[in-house]
Symmetry: C2
């Protein structure tokens, strides 16, 4: 298969983790005879530094032409501390999601047996957790009209039936192919937008009679996710609630450096770790590349390259089992760097049988 | 002291837990020679059933005249499942908060040594956690203009400098009297309203040089609250983020049935458990009254009745130590009801020395 992949390393630890994912994709291409080409483009704070624009035209055009986008991370402490900044790194990411209409953000949360003891949660609480979060990515509070003066500010949270239906269908279908359970998370007891979500999703449910649908308020969900994560199969929710819940869910997995994601529509697909740019860890070799590598596995899934994706995941599992992991996860060895983890996974893909013997 | 206390039991388990708090306040009044009078009023689904209005005029007037309000819980599954309902129980609570201008909601989160093993979190993670959440309660998404048609819906999240300043001052002062650390939780990388929060709070910080101020995005905070709750002293945040974080924080304490809260301004003060109405547990004797009783303790604090409040807390501690608790917390005895917990705490207050010998 030929794939033209746009690579947007972004800020902070983005470039170093993305480099590992690219390495892994190259190994896969080599092993399976695919032709993957990679085109780098600027985004975020690093794009502002070079061009003054967090999302240069050239980046959009590279992404539009690509079959898939591999995204690193975005953000910088410099802008975080300046509430007056007019130009912000995050506009790069949000602008890209919006201009490519990447409305469905899919975030798997899986408790790895080998990492159960890394979680802040008790093992019996989390074992076998396997949740798929469908986060709406193009609507809601992030994208509504904004006002900001010295004395007043507002954001609008807006949703249309169309926006809700298109992601709800995907979530229902995902539930059908899994345990058949869908949980809509909203705040329908206080928000009109949530009431529309509840209404539309209830209506669609009749088309998916084999999916068991339930509803949960976001405050309650933030609690249930910790005390009983196994109750969830597929979670469907609006943009900001999905942001909050998916980052919170990383505590189940033991490190935020393990969660990849896919942002898709019919035409485009972007793959990115859910973690941020973490400036403070930049170029220290401590950034966990697994989230980026698992995002690359989701990229392979997306194009039906199931065997390839499975091999990447097997390599990741192996690295976890053998403690070939960055410090966030490693209680055993203390000098395994971002690059070393990438190298191990690359080697495993090049020589799956051999590495298995280690 | 003379106190005129409005009692709004509300829905679901509200009445049964509130009854225990009233019992406890009566015991305190008796023991210390105070005169507390109690005036019941309707609110929520039970008010809709009787009057068609979730917040009858009479209720507002009783609350306006009262020195303090003791609130139970609100909500009903009937309305939760009907996104088209025009009249909703929650309007009673939200309307009351708004009409009395109860802008500051204070929610303490304390890990009780005797309950550490009840938490889903590992003991070493949570021991000694002591967080005070200042949640803005009258602004934000809940109260902005709403639109809802069959195909579109929107809510507006709006904040003024004034609204931010008044609660921020309270939070800074609370931090001063505690460990001197204040964390503002927002989503300033995506929301204009959050940027105003960040700006205003940064400006006020110069008036509190002995308070260490830091900022955290809500998604990150939802994770940090679980992996490292001890880093927090006072958390300041807007309405909905406070709703989410405080309910999530209940996992640290081991049961949501343990968290009380105060909603205050210069003139009025309301005290309520943070838990909901939980219809399904109504009249089963399993509802934990501690959240309501600790809300009553906050009521006593509010009027400077420190010794009285301390006695209530001592009684609560004792009940926890002796496993005189409802089933949500009890691994030892299986038939201790809501009323029995209230009775024990009442007895302890009536005979502190004697009960201590048990
Ligand atoms: C960087 C930020 C705007 C972004 C978001 O909130 O969507 C990030 O937290 C994420 O989850 O991808
Ligand atoms: C009932 C609901 C509207 C309310 C809120 O979200 O404020 C509740 O969850 C709370 O936290 O007091």
């Amino acid at each position: 298969m030929k794939l033209n992949i746009a690579v947007l390393p972004g800020d902070g630890i983005g470039p170093e983790v993305t480099a590992q994912a690219v390495k892994v994709l190259k190994a896969i291409a080599m092993e399976f005879g695919h032709v993957f080409t990679f085109n780098k483009a600027l985004v975020g704070a690093s794009a502002i530094d070079k061009t003054g624009n967090p999302l240069p035209e050239e980046t959009i055009s590279i992404c539009e032409k690509a079959d898939a986008i591999l995204f690193g991370a975005i953000g910088s402490a410099k802008y975080d501390m300046d509430p007056d900044a007019k130009i912000r790194p995050e506009q790069g990411l949000l602008g890209l999601r919006k201009s490519l209409d990447l409305f469905a953000n899919i975030r798997p949360v899986i408790a790895y047996e080998d990492l159960l003891n890394m979680s802040s949660l008790k093992i019996k609480q989390i074992r076998d957790t396997n949740i798929l979060i469908y986060r709406e990515l193009n609507g809601g509070l992030y994208f509504g009209e904004k006002k900001l003066t010295n004395d007043n500010a507002s954001d609008i949270c807006e949703y249309s039936r169309f926006e809700i239906e298109r992601i709800a269908h995907l979530a229902f279908k995902a539930a059908q192919s899994r345990k058949g359970k869908l949980t809509l998370v909203d705040k329908a007891n206080a928000l009109a937008s949530s009431r529309l979500w509840r209404k539309v999703v209830k209506e669609l449910a009749t088309q998916y009679p084999n999916v068991k649908l339930n509803f949960m308020y976001i405050d309650n969900a933030a609690r249930e996710l910790i005390i009983n994560p196994r109750q969830f199969d597929v979670i469907l929710t609006e943009n900001m609630f999905g942001d909050i819940l998916s980052e919170e869910a990383s505590v189940i997995v033991g490190s935020i450096g393990l969660l990849g994601s896919a942002s898709i529509n019919d035409k485009h697909a972007m793959f990115e770790p859910i973690h941020g740019a973490n400036d403070e860890f930049k170029n220290k070799g401590v950034a966990n590349p697994i989230a980026s590598i698992l995002s690359a596995a989701m990229l392979l899934d997306h194009f039906g390259l199931d065997i390839e994706a499975a091999l990447v995941r097997k390599a990741v599992d192996k690295s976890l089992k053998l403690h070939i992991t960055t410090p966030d996860l490693n209680m055993k060895y203390d000098n395994i760097s971002t690059t070393k983890v990438g190298d191990f996974i690359e080697d495993f893909i090049n020589n799956p049988e051999e590495t298995n013997l280690n």
